[in-house]
Amino acid sequence: MRKLNYLWRLVMTGLAFSLFSVGGLAITLLAFPVVRLLPGGRQRRRQRMQWVIHKMFGLFVGFMCTVGIMRLHLKNAEALSQARGVLVLANHPTLIDVVVMISLMPRSDCVVKAALWNSPFLGGVVRAAGYISNAKSSEELVDACVGALREGGALIIFPEGTRTQPGQPLRFLRGAAHIALGSDQPILPVVLTCDPPTLSKGRPWYDIPPRRFEYRLEVKSPLSVNQLIAPDLPDTLAVRRLTDALQTHFALELAVHGQPAN
């Protein structure tokens, strides 16, 4: 019976991955032209595209829960769906973190890899959604992120810059702090855990866990920069102090969940 369950989850995980690609292609071919043809300016188009992605990711997460690959536990997730003009920071245990988060957020901005930005299948979608390409200099990238926040976007950033290295201590890059200091908008911390660990860095999709994984998403109370660091620090020091403070904050939250950051 256990073996059968394992095989079922393996096949469904493979199917989920295929669906994700097929779904991406479907948005590009079907939803994208419709959104383009609807009246409204660039801004409206962006919001509609973000909404389409939100719905598609919702279907995808729903599929994974229904077939029994994962179980989703949400806490205070309404804060995410209402998020506007906030910097959403999350730790990054798995490949599906951004998918789960966007499935809860009708409006979201995020930074995407150049490879995705230029992809013939999904490039059109992420560009139309107004997502931000990381193929810029660091200064331009920070400016673009600050701009998105000022326009009322809910910008998702993973301060680790990539998925958490399992077994390693949490390590934040300074980009998130640069954006927070540049924009002066509140920070919404989202703590993610996945038990047993799966879809983590360096793990192929078919290396599935021994049982269905429990994916927990908890939105914490908003933070402001003033709460975390002393005022009037020079920029170079403020960004370092804030990075340390955020990293400590997340490390403590993860410790409370009784799990190391993986």
Partner: protein, 89 residues
């Protein structure tokens, strides 16, 4: 420090000035700052820090640094050389 003073600075004096900047602005531990140290890999600077550093060196030397010139800089020794070149201009 005034520009006239810097004009007379030796390589060692430039290194010491740079060390002060790195310690004050970026909290780089003193013992890590050697001529061979790589700004990005060893001293944990990022490209936004590099822009800040260039601005601080401009203030120190009173001369404009072109962004392109500073992009090739990797080690502390590279920065010292760049400052020397700047002063010789």
């Amino acid at each position: 420090m005034k520009m006239d003073n810097v004009m007379a600075l030796s390589e060692e004096a430039i290194f010491n000035e740079l060390k002060t900047i790195l310690m004050d602005a970026f909290e780089t531990p003193e013992e890590q700052i050697t001529l061979e140290a790589n700004l990005y890999e060893d001293l944990d600077l990022d490209s936004i820090d590099a822009v800040d550093l260039a601005v601080k060196l401009q203030t120190l030397t009173g001369k404009r640094i072109k962004a392109d010139e500073f992009k090739t800089v990797r080690t502390v020794a590279d920065v010292v050389r760049a400052v020397q070149a700047l002063l010789a201009r």
